[in-house]
Protein backbone atom coordinates (compact mmCIF):
# COMPACT_ATOMS: atom_id res chain seq x y z
CA UNK A 1 0.00 0.00 0.00
CA UNK A 2 1.23 3.46 -0.91
CA UNK A 3 2.35 5.40 2.12
CA UNK A 4 0.37 8.54 2.91
CA UNK A 5 2.87 11.30 2.26
CA UNK A 6 0.58 14.29 2.69
CA UNK A 7 1.16 16.82 5.43
CA UNK A 8 -2.51 17.87 5.59
CA UNK A 9 -5.79 16.11 4.74
CA UNK A 10 -7.41 17.33 1.51
CA UNK A 11 -10.56 17.89 3.57
CA UNK A 12 -8.78 20.39 5.80
CA UNK A 13 -7.03 22.39 3.07
CA UNK A 14 -8.30 25.99 2.94
CA UNK A 15 -10.18 27.00 -0.23
CA UNK A 16 -7.86 27.02 -3.24
CA UNK A 17 -4.90 25.90 -1.08
CA UNK A 18 -4.70 29.39 0.41
CA UNK A 19 -2.35 29.98 3.33
CA UNK A 20 -4.24 31.69 6.13
CA UNK A 21 -1.32 32.41 8.43
CA UNK A 22 0.66 35.45 7.26
CA UNK A 23 4.41 34.97 6.85
CA UNK A 24 4.46 31.28 7.71
CA UNK A 25 7.26 30.76 5.17
CA UNK A 26 9.53 31.57 8.12
CA UNK A 27 8.70 28.12 9.50
CA UNK A 28 10.09 26.38 6.43
CA UNK A 29 13.46 24.91 7.30
CA UNK A 30 15.48 25.49 4.13
CA UNK A 31 18.66 24.55 6.00
CA UNK A 32 18.11 20.88 5.26
CA UNK A 33 18.66 21.52 1.52
CA UNK A 34 22.31 22.15 2.35
CA UNK A 35 25.17 19.84 1.38
CA UNK A 36 27.97 22.16 2.55
CA UNK A 37 28.02 24.57 5.48
CA UNK A 38 30.02 27.81 5.80
CA UNK A 39 32.42 27.86 8.75
CA UNK A 40 33.90 31.23 9.75
CA UNK A 41 37.40 31.53 11.14
CA UNK A 42 36.90 34.43 13.54
CA UNK A 43 40.72 34.88 13.79
CA UNK A 44 40.71 36.05 10.16
CA UNK A 45 37.38 37.96 10.27
CA UNK A 46 37.71 41.77 9.95
CA UNK A 47 34.00 42.46 10.65
CA UNK A 48 33.52 43.95 7.17
CA UNK A 49 30.00 42.49 6.90
CA UNK A 50 30.33 41.30 3.28
CA UNK A 51 28.81 37.90 4.24
CA UNK A 52 25.87 39.72 5.84
CA UNK A 53 25.38 41.94 2.76
CA UNK A 54 25.69 39.23 0.10
CA UNK A 55 23.76 36.38 1.78
CA UNK A 56 20.55 35.97 -0.32
CA UNK A 57 18.74 34.42 2.63
CA UNK A 58 19.85 36.87 5.33
CA UNK A 59 21.48 34.08 7.30
CA UNK A 60 24.13 36.26 8.97
CA UNK A 61 23.01 38.26 11.98
CA UNK A 62 25.18 41.12 13.27
CA UNK A 63 26.13 40.80 16.94
CA UNK A 64 27.04 43.56 19.40
CA UNK A 65 30.75 42.73 19.15
CA UNK A 66 30.70 43.39 15.37
CA UNK A 67 31.00 39.73 14.37
CA UNK A 68 28.28 37.89 12.46
CA UNK A 69 26.40 34.84 13.65
CA UNK A 70 25.40 32.19 11.10
CA UNK A 71 21.80 30.87 11.00
CA UNK A 72 21.83 27.16 10.24
CA UNK A 73 17.97 26.93 10.09
CA UNK A 74 17.73 28.83 6.78
CA UNK A 75 21.23 28.63 5.22
CA UNK A 76 21.01 26.59 1.97
CA UNK A 77 24.78 26.34 1.67
CA UNK A 78 25.09 28.33 -1.58
CA UNK A 79 28.64 29.44 -0.72
CA UNK A 80 28.25 33.08 -1.77
CA UNK A 81 29.56 34.26 1.62
CA UNK A 82 32.71 32.16 1.26
CA UNK A 83 33.22 33.44 -2.29
CA UNK A 84 32.80 37.09 -1.29
CA UNK A 85 34.78 37.09 1.97
CA UNK A 86 37.85 39.33 1.26
CA UNK A 87 39.93 37.55 3.91
CA UNK A 88 39.00 33.95 2.96
CA UNK A 89 37.77 33.57 6.52
CA UNK A 90 34.80 31.42 5.46
CA UNK A 91 35.30 27.84 4.31
CA UNK A 92 32.60 25.53 2.95
CA UNK A 93 32.70 22.25 4.85
CA UNK A 94 30.88 19.04 3.87
CA UNK A 95 27.78 18.35 5.94
CA UNK A 96 28.05 15.03 7.70
CA UNK A 97 25.11 12.66 7.71
Amino acid sequence: MARDQGIISWKELPLGCAILEPGNAKDLRTGDWRSKRPVTDYEKCIKCGMCYIYCPDMCYIPKDDGLFEWNEYYCKGCGICAHECPKDAITMVEEEK
Binding site: Q5, G6, W10, L13, P14, L15, G16, C17, A18, I19
Partner: protein, 391 residues
Protein backbone atom coordinates in the same frame (compact mmCIF):
# COMPACT_ATOMS: atom_id res chain seq x y z
CA UNK B 1 -41.85 41.47 -17.09
CA UNK B 2 -39.79 39.39 -19.44
CA UNK B 3 -39.97 40.44 -23.06
CA UNK B 4 -39.52 38.22 -26.09
CA UNK B 5 -37.35 39.94 -28.67
CA UNK B 6 -35.54 39.14 -31.87
CA UNK B 7 -31.90 39.65 -30.90
CA UNK B 8 -28.42 38.57 -31.98
CA UNK B 9 -27.45 35.77 -29.61
CA UNK B 10 -24.11 37.40 -28.69
CA UNK B 11 -25.94 40.60 -27.73
CA UNK B 12 -28.40 38.55 -25.65
CA UNK B 13 -25.42 37.13 -23.72
CA UNK B 14 -24.20 40.69 -23.01
CA UNK B 15 -27.67 41.56 -21.77
CA UNK B 16 -27.58 38.57 -19.41
CA UNK B 17 -24.18 39.69 -18.11
CA UNK B 18 -25.58 43.18 -17.57
CA UNK B 19 -28.57 41.74 -15.71
CA UNK B 20 -26.16 39.76 -13.52
CA UNK B 21 -24.68 43.14 -12.56
CA UNK B 22 -21.04 42.10 -12.94
CA UNK B 23 -18.31 44.19 -11.36
CA UNK B 24 -15.51 43.59 -13.83
CA UNK B 25 -15.10 42.48 -17.41
CA UNK B 26 -11.60 41.93 -18.81
CA UNK B 27 -11.26 41.11 -22.48
CA UNK B 28 -8.98 41.41 -25.45
CA UNK B 29 -11.09 43.07 -28.12
CA UNK B 30 -9.85 41.58 -31.38
CA UNK B 31 -10.51 38.48 -33.52
CA UNK B 32 -11.58 35.89 -32.43
CA UNK B 33 -13.76 38.03 -30.15
CA UNK B 34 -17.49 38.40 -30.76
CA UNK B 35 -20.06 41.08 -30.20
CA UNK B 36 -20.42 39.93 -26.58
CA UNK B 37 -17.59 42.01 -25.14
CA UNK B 38 -17.98 44.70 -27.80
CA UNK B 39 -21.54 45.29 -26.62
CA UNK B 40 -20.51 45.08 -22.96
CA UNK B 41 -17.88 47.76 -23.50
CA UNK B 42 -20.63 49.97 -24.97
CA UNK B 43 -22.93 49.28 -22.01
CA UNK B 44 -20.16 50.28 -19.60
CA UNK B 45 -19.19 53.36 -21.65
CA UNK B 46 -22.82 54.48 -21.87
CA UNK B 47 -23.28 54.13 -18.11
CA UNK B 48 -25.90 51.38 -18.46
CA UNK B 49 -23.70 48.92 -16.58
CA UNK B 50 -21.72 50.04 -13.54
CA UNK B 51 -18.64 47.85 -14.01
CA UNK B 52 -14.95 48.11 -14.80
CA UNK B 53 -14.17 47.19 -18.40
CA UNK B 54 -10.49 46.32 -18.68
CA UNK B 55 -9.25 46.23 -22.28
CA UNK B 56 -6.13 44.13 -21.76
CA UNK B 57 -3.26 43.47 -24.17
CA UNK B 58 -3.86 39.72 -24.62
CA UNK B 59 -6.16 36.87 -23.63
CA UNK B 60 -3.49 35.69 -21.20
CA UNK B 61 -3.79 39.05 -19.45
CA UNK B 62 -7.59 38.93 -19.67
CA UNK B 63 -7.77 35.80 -17.52
CA UNK B 64 -5.00 37.11 -15.23
CA UNK B 65 -7.04 40.28 -14.63
CA UNK B 66 -10.13 38.19 -14.00
CA UNK B 67 -8.23 36.18 -11.39
CA UNK B 68 -7.18 39.34 -9.55
CA UNK B 69 -10.69 40.72 -9.71
CA UNK B 70 -12.35 37.53 -8.54
CA UNK B 71 -9.83 37.08 -5.72
CA UNK B 72 -10.68 40.60 -4.57
CA UNK B 73 -14.30 39.47 -4.26
CA UNK B 74 -15.78 41.02 -7.42
CA UNK B 75 -18.28 39.34 -9.75
CA UNK B 76 -16.11 38.74 -12.81
CA UNK B 77 -16.80 37.91 -16.44
CA UNK B 78 -14.96 37.40 -19.70
CA UNK B 79 -15.60 35.83 -23.10
CA UNK B 80 -13.35 34.39 -25.74
CA UNK B 81 -12.95 31.81 -28.45
CA UNK B 82 -10.52 29.36 -30.14
CA UNK B 83 -6.94 30.74 -30.40
CA UNK B 84 -7.69 33.38 -27.79
CA UNK B 85 -8.77 30.65 -25.42
CA UNK B 86 -5.63 28.69 -26.25
CA UNK B 87 -3.50 31.67 -25.23
CA UNK B 88 -5.56 31.96 -22.05
CA UNK B 89 -5.23 28.28 -21.18
CA UNK B 90 -2.21 28.52 -18.90
CA UNK B 91 -4.02 30.94 -16.63
CA UNK B 92 -7.34 29.04 -16.78
CA UNK B 93 -5.75 26.29 -14.69
CA UNK B 94 -4.88 28.87 -12.04
CA UNK B 95 -8.48 30.14 -11.89
CA UNK B 96 -9.87 26.70 -11.10
CA UNK B 97 -7.15 25.68 -8.67
CA UNK B 98 -7.55 28.96 -6.77
CA UNK B 99 -11.31 28.25 -6.74
CA UNK B 100 -12.34 31.59 -8.23
CA UNK B 101 -15.92 31.78 -9.56
CA UNK B 102 -15.19 33.54 -12.85
CA UNK B 103 -17.83 33.13 -15.56
CA UNK B 104 -16.68 32.89 -19.17
CA UNK B 105 -18.69 32.51 -22.36
CA UNK B 106 -16.83 30.51 -24.95
CA UNK B 107 -17.97 30.93 -28.52
CA UNK B 108 -16.78 27.60 -29.86
CA UNK B 109 -14.56 27.69 -32.89
CA UNK B 110 -11.91 25.49 -34.44
CA UNK B 111 -8.23 25.79 -33.63
CA UNK B 112 -5.65 26.45 -36.35
CA UNK B 113 -4.43 25.04 -38.59
CA UNK B 114 -5.26 25.29 -41.29
CA UNK B 115 -6.19 28.76 -40.15
CA UNK B 116 -9.91 28.73 -39.47
CA UNK B 117 -12.39 30.97 -37.73
CA UNK B 118 -15.37 28.65 -38.13
CA UNK B 119 -17.33 26.58 -35.66
CA UNK B 120 -16.46 23.24 -34.12
CA UNK B 121 -15.63 21.94 -30.63
CA UNK B 122 -11.82 21.85 -30.75
CA UNK B 123 -11.60 24.64 -28.17
CA UNK B 124 -14.28 23.11 -25.95
CA UNK B 125 -12.36 19.83 -25.75
CA UNK B 126 -9.06 21.63 -25.15
CA UNK B 127 -10.62 22.91 -21.89
CA UNK B 128 -11.89 19.50 -20.80
CA UNK B 129 -9.35 18.68 -18.10
CA UNK B 130 -8.74 22.08 -16.53
CA UNK B 131 -11.18 21.78 -13.64
CA UNK B 132 -13.82 24.29 -14.80
CA UNK B 133 -17.53 23.55 -14.94
CA UNK B 134 -18.49 23.29 -18.63
CA UNK B 135 -22.08 23.81 -19.78
CA UNK B 136 -23.14 23.63 -23.43
CA UNK B 137 -26.08 25.54 -24.94
CA UNK B 138 -28.36 24.34 -27.72
CA UNK B 139 -29.79 27.69 -28.78
CA UNK B 140 -29.97 31.39 -27.97
CA UNK B 141 -32.49 31.08 -25.15
CA UNK B 142 -30.36 28.46 -23.45
CA UNK B 143 -27.18 30.52 -23.59
CA UNK B 144 -29.05 33.52 -22.15
CA UNK B 145 -30.44 31.43 -19.28
CA UNK B 146 -27.22 29.52 -18.69
CA UNK B 147 -25.24 32.76 -18.40
CA UNK B 148 -27.44 33.70 -15.46
CA UNK B 149 -27.27 30.17 -13.99
CA UNK B 150 -23.49 30.21 -14.17
CA UNK B 151 -22.94 33.08 -11.77
CA UNK B 152 -25.19 31.44 -9.20
CA UNK B 153 -23.57 28.04 -9.61
CA UNK B 154 -19.96 29.26 -9.68
CA UNK B 155 -20.38 31.56 -6.67
CA UNK B 156 -22.17 29.04 -4.47
CA UNK B 157 -19.94 28.53 -1.43
CA UNK B 158 -20.20 24.77 -1.89
CA UNK B 159 -18.85 25.12 -5.43
CA UNK B 160 -16.48 28.11 -5.86
CA UNK B 161 -15.31 27.06 -9.30
CA UNK B 162 -14.99 28.99 -12.55
CA UNK B 163 -17.65 28.15 -15.10
CA UNK B 164 -17.66 28.11 -18.88
CA UNK B 165 -20.81 28.38 -20.93
CA UNK B 166 -20.29 27.20 -24.48
CA UNK B 167 -22.18 28.19 -27.58
CA UNK B 168 -21.41 27.41 -31.18
CA UNK B 169 -19.61 30.13 -33.10
CA UNK B 170 -21.59 31.72 -35.96
CA UNK B 171 -24.42 29.15 -36.00
CA UNK B 172 -25.46 30.60 -32.64
CA UNK B 173 -23.29 33.60 -31.84
CA UNK B 174 -23.99 35.58 -35.01
CA UNK B 175 -27.63 34.73 -35.70
CA UNK B 176 -30.76 36.53 -34.58
CA UNK B 177 -33.15 34.41 -32.55
CA UNK B 178 -36.31 35.10 -30.61
CA UNK B 179 -35.18 35.17 -26.97
CA UNK B 180 -37.09 35.89 -23.80
CA UNK B 181 -35.04 38.52 -21.95
CA UNK B 182 -35.82 38.60 -18.24
CA UNK B 183 -36.11 41.94 -16.51
CA UNK B 184 -33.92 43.12 -13.63
CA UNK B 185 -36.51 42.43 -10.92
CA UNK B 186 -36.94 38.86 -12.14
CA UNK B 187 -33.19 38.25 -12.28
CA UNK B 188 -32.75 39.76 -8.80
CA UNK B 189 -35.16 37.16 -7.42
CA UNK B 190 -32.94 34.42 -8.80
CA UNK B 191 -29.42 35.84 -8.52
CA UNK B 192 -28.21 37.58 -5.35
CA UNK B 193 -25.05 39.71 -5.13
CA UNK B 194 -21.81 37.75 -4.82
CA UNK B 195 -20.46 37.29 -1.31
CA UNK B 196 -16.89 36.01 -1.41
CA UNK B 197 -15.95 33.52 1.32
CA UNK B 198 -12.33 34.65 1.26
CA UNK B 199 -11.58 37.91 -0.52
CA UNK B 200 -8.31 39.81 -0.41
CA UNK B 201 -8.46 41.99 2.68
CA UNK B 202 -5.51 43.73 4.38
CA UNK B 203 -7.17 43.16 7.76
CA UNK B 204 -7.15 39.38 7.21
CA UNK B 205 -4.14 38.65 5.01
CA UNK B 206 -3.99 35.36 3.13
CA UNK B 207 -1.49 33.95 0.66
CA UNK B 208 -3.02 32.62 -2.55
CA UNK B 209 -1.20 30.85 -5.34
CA UNK B 210 1.63 29.61 -3.13
CA UNK B 211 3.88 26.71 -4.10
CA UNK B 212 2.41 23.23 -3.56
CA UNK B 213 5.25 20.97 -2.50
CA UNK B 214 4.87 17.23 -3.22
CA UNK B 215 3.47 16.81 0.32
CA UNK B 216 0.53 19.14 -0.55
CA UNK B 217 -0.05 19.07 -4.32
CA UNK B 218 -1.90 15.74 -4.38
CA UNK B 219 -4.23 16.86 -1.58
CA UNK B 220 -4.86 20.12 -3.48
CA UNK B 221 -5.86 18.22 -6.60
CA UNK B 222 -8.07 15.83 -4.64
CA UNK B 223 -9.90 18.76 -3.03
CA UNK B 224 -10.40 20.36 -6.46
CA UNK B 225 -11.73 17.11 -7.95
CA UNK B 226 -14.19 16.63 -5.09
CA UNK B 227 -15.38 20.22 -5.48
CA UNK B 228 -16.06 19.71 -9.19
CA UNK B 229 -17.91 16.45 -8.58
CA UNK B 230 -19.96 18.03 -5.78
CA UNK B 231 -20.88 20.98 -7.99
CA UNK B 232 -23.37 18.75 -9.80
CA UNK B 233 -25.85 18.90 -6.92
CA UNK B 234 -25.72 22.70 -6.96
CA UNK B 235 -26.08 22.77 -10.76
CA UNK B 236 -29.21 20.57 -10.59
CA UNK B 237 -30.65 22.63 -7.72
CA UNK B 238 -29.99 25.90 -9.55
CA UNK B 239 -31.62 24.64 -12.75
CA UNK B 240 -34.65 23.48 -10.74
CA UNK B 241 -34.93 26.83 -9.00
CA UNK B 242 -34.70 28.69 -12.32
CA UNK B 243 -37.32 26.40 -13.85
CA UNK B 244 -39.70 26.95 -10.93
CA UNK B 245 -39.35 30.71 -11.33
CA UNK B 246 -39.41 31.10 -15.09
CA UNK B 247 -40.77 27.83 -16.50
CA UNK B 248 -37.68 26.77 -18.41
CA UNK B 249 -36.19 23.59 -16.92
CA UNK B 250 -32.77 22.21 -17.79
CA UNK B 251 -31.21 18.81 -17.26
CA UNK B 252 -27.64 17.52 -17.75
CA UNK B 253 -28.67 15.14 -20.54
CA UNK B 254 -31.58 16.30 -22.66
CA UNK B 255 -33.51 13.79 -24.74
CA UNK B 256 -35.66 13.95 -27.85
CA UNK B 257 -37.88 11.00 -28.84
CA UNK B 258 -35.36 8.74 -27.10
CA UNK B 259 -37.75 6.66 -24.94
CA UNK B 260 -38.54 4.02 -27.55
CA UNK B 261 -35.62 4.73 -29.87
CA UNK B 262 -33.54 1.88 -31.23
CA UNK B 263 -30.84 4.23 -32.47
CA UNK B 264 -29.93 7.30 -30.40
CA UNK B 265 -27.78 10.17 -31.60
CA UNK B 266 -25.43 11.67 -29.02
CA UNK B 267 -24.90 15.34 -29.77
CA UNK B 268 -23.60 18.55 -28.21
CA UNK B 269 -24.57 22.11 -29.05
CA UNK B 270 -26.51 23.62 -31.91
CA UNK B 271 -26.40 20.63 -34.28
CA UNK B 272 -28.93 19.06 -31.92
CA UNK B 273 -31.76 21.12 -33.39
CA UNK B 274 -30.88 20.09 -36.96
CA UNK B 275 -30.68 16.55 -35.66
CA UNK B 276 -34.23 16.92 -34.27
CA UNK B 277 -35.49 17.74 -37.78
CA UNK B 278 -33.61 14.72 -39.14
CA UNK B 279 -35.16 12.52 -36.42
CA UNK B 280 -38.65 13.79 -37.30
CA UNK B 281 -38.11 12.90 -40.97
CA UNK B 282 -36.68 9.47 -40.17
CA UNK B 283 -39.55 8.77 -37.75
CA UNK B 284 -41.95 9.45 -40.65
CA UNK B 285 -40.04 6.79 -42.59
CA UNK B 286 -40.62 4.38 -39.72
CA UNK B 287 -37.15 4.47 -38.20
CA UNK B 288 -37.10 4.52 -34.41
CA UNK B 289 -34.46 7.15 -33.79
CA UNK B 290 -33.98 9.69 -31.02
CA UNK B 291 -31.40 12.02 -29.45
CA UNK B 292 -29.61 12.35 -26.14
CA UNK B 293 -27.75 15.67 -26.01
CA UNK B 294 -25.09 16.73 -23.56
CA UNK B 295 -25.68 20.00 -21.71
CA UNK B 296 -23.32 19.32 -18.83
CA UNK B 297 -19.90 18.24 -20.05
CA UNK B 298 -17.92 18.78 -16.82
CA UNK B 299 -18.70 17.37 -14.32
CA UNK B 300 -19.84 14.61 -16.68
CA UNK B 301 -23.31 13.25 -15.81
CA UNK B 302 -22.55 9.53 -16.02
CA UNK B 303 -25.74 8.34 -14.28
CA UNK B 304 -28.06 10.43 -16.43
CA UNK B 305 -26.30 9.35 -19.61
CA UNK B 306 -26.59 5.66 -18.75
CA UNK B 307 -30.26 6.15 -17.85
CA UNK B 308 -30.93 7.86 -21.20
CA UNK B 309 -29.19 5.49 -23.60
CA UNK B 310 -28.72 1.95 -22.30
CA UNK B 311 -32.03 0.67 -23.68
CA UNK B 312 -31.10 1.57 -27.26
CA UNK B 313 -29.59 -0.90 -29.72
CA UNK B 314 -27.07 1.57 -31.05
CA UNK B 315 -25.64 5.01 -30.42
CA UNK B 316 -24.48 7.37 -33.14
CA UNK B 317 -21.97 9.62 -31.40
CA UNK B 318 -21.11 12.84 -33.22
CA UNK B 319 -17.83 14.47 -32.31
CA UNK B 320 -16.98 17.94 -33.55
CA UNK B 321 -13.37 17.60 -32.47
CA UNK B 322 -10.71 14.93 -32.59
CA UNK B 323 -8.19 13.62 -30.12
CA UNK B 324 -5.37 13.13 -32.59
CA UNK B 325 -3.66 9.78 -32.42
CA UNK B 326 -6.05 8.58 -29.76
CA UNK B 327 -9.45 6.90 -29.68
CA UNK B 328 -11.04 9.33 -32.18
CA UNK B 329 -13.62 11.72 -30.85
CA UNK B 330 -13.41 12.77 -27.20
CA UNK B 331 -17.21 12.56 -26.82
CA UNK B 332 -17.32 8.98 -28.14
CA UNK B 333 -14.44 8.11 -25.87
CA UNK B 334 -16.37 9.46 -22.89
CA UNK B 335 -19.56 7.62 -23.85
CA UNK B 336 -17.72 4.34 -24.27
CA UNK B 337 -16.07 4.68 -20.89
CA UNK B 338 -19.43 5.58 -19.31
CA UNK B 339 -20.93 2.35 -20.67
CA UNK B 340 -17.99 0.09 -19.85
CA UNK B 341 -19.47 -1.23 -16.62
CA UNK B 342 -22.90 -1.96 -18.11
CA UNK B 343 -23.65 -5.66 -18.57
CA UNK B 344 -25.68 -4.81 -21.66
CA UNK B 345 -24.72 -1.80 -23.68
CA UNK B 346 -25.63 -0.37 -27.06
CA UNK B 347 -23.45 -0.67 -30.15
CA UNK B 348 -21.43 2.55 -30.43
CA UNK B 349 -20.72 4.09 -33.82
CA UNK B 350 -18.48 7.14 -33.72
CA UNK B 351 -18.36 9.91 -36.31
CA UNK B 352 -16.15 12.96 -36.60
CA UNK B 353 -18.26 15.62 -38.30
CA UNK B 354 -18.71 19.34 -38.70
CA UNK B 355 -15.05 20.29 -38.29
CA UNK B 356 -14.02 23.87 -39.00
CA UNK B 357 -17.50 25.05 -39.94
CA UNK B 358 -18.50 22.23 -42.30
CA UNK B 359 -22.29 21.91 -42.25
CA UNK B 360 -23.97 18.83 -40.86
CA UNK B 361 -27.19 18.65 -42.84
CA UNK B 362 -30.23 16.43 -42.33
CA UNK B 363 -28.88 14.06 -45.00
CA UNK B 364 -25.64 13.64 -43.07
CA UNK B 365 -27.59 12.47 -39.99
CA UNK B 366 -29.53 10.03 -42.18
CA UNK B 367 -26.30 8.72 -43.68
CA UNK B 368 -24.90 8.12 -40.19
CA UNK B 369 -27.94 6.01 -39.32
CA UNK B 370 -27.66 4.00 -42.55
CA UNK B 371 -23.97 3.35 -41.92
CA UNK B 372 -24.73 2.31 -38.36
CA UNK B 373 -27.43 -0.12 -39.47
CA UNK B 374 -24.96 -1.70 -41.91
CA UNK B 375 -22.17 -2.07 -39.38
CA UNK B 376 -24.61 -3.48 -36.80
CA UNK B 377 -25.49 -6.26 -39.24
CA UNK B 378 -21.81 -7.13 -39.45
CA UNK B 379 -21.80 -7.20 -35.65
CA UNK B 380 -18.40 -5.59 -35.34
CA UNK B 381 -18.10 -2.19 -33.71
CA UNK B 382 -16.07 0.00 -36.05
CA UNK B 383 -13.54 2.59 -34.97
CA UNK B 384 -14.30 6.18 -35.78
CA UNK B 385 -14.98 7.69 -39.18
CA UNK B 386 -14.51 11.18 -40.63
CA UNK B 387 -17.90 11.42 -42.28
CA UNK B 388 -18.01 13.25 -45.61
CA UNK B 389 -14.24 13.52 -45.96
CA UNK B 390 -13.15 13.67 -49.61
CA UNK B 391 -10.87 10.73 -50.32
Amino acid sequence: MARRVGIEVSIAVSEAVKLADVDLIAAYPITPQTHIVEHLSELVADGELDAEFVPVESEHSAMSSCIGSSAAGARTYTATSSQGLALMLEVCYIASSLRLPIVMTIVDRSLSGPLSIWNDHSDLMMERDIGWIQIVALNGQEIFDMTLHSFKIAEDHNVMLPTQVHMDGFTLSHVIEPIEILDKAEVDKFLKPYVSPMSLDPEKPVTIGAVGVPEVYTEGRKAQEEALLNSKDVILRTWKEFGDLFGRYYEPIGTYKADDAEIIFITMGSITETCMSAVDQMRQDGKKVGIAYIRLWRPFPFDELIEAVTKADALVVIDRAISHGGPGGPLASEIKSALYHQAQRPFVNSFIAGLGGRDITINVFKEMVEKTEKTMKKGVEPGYEFIGVKE
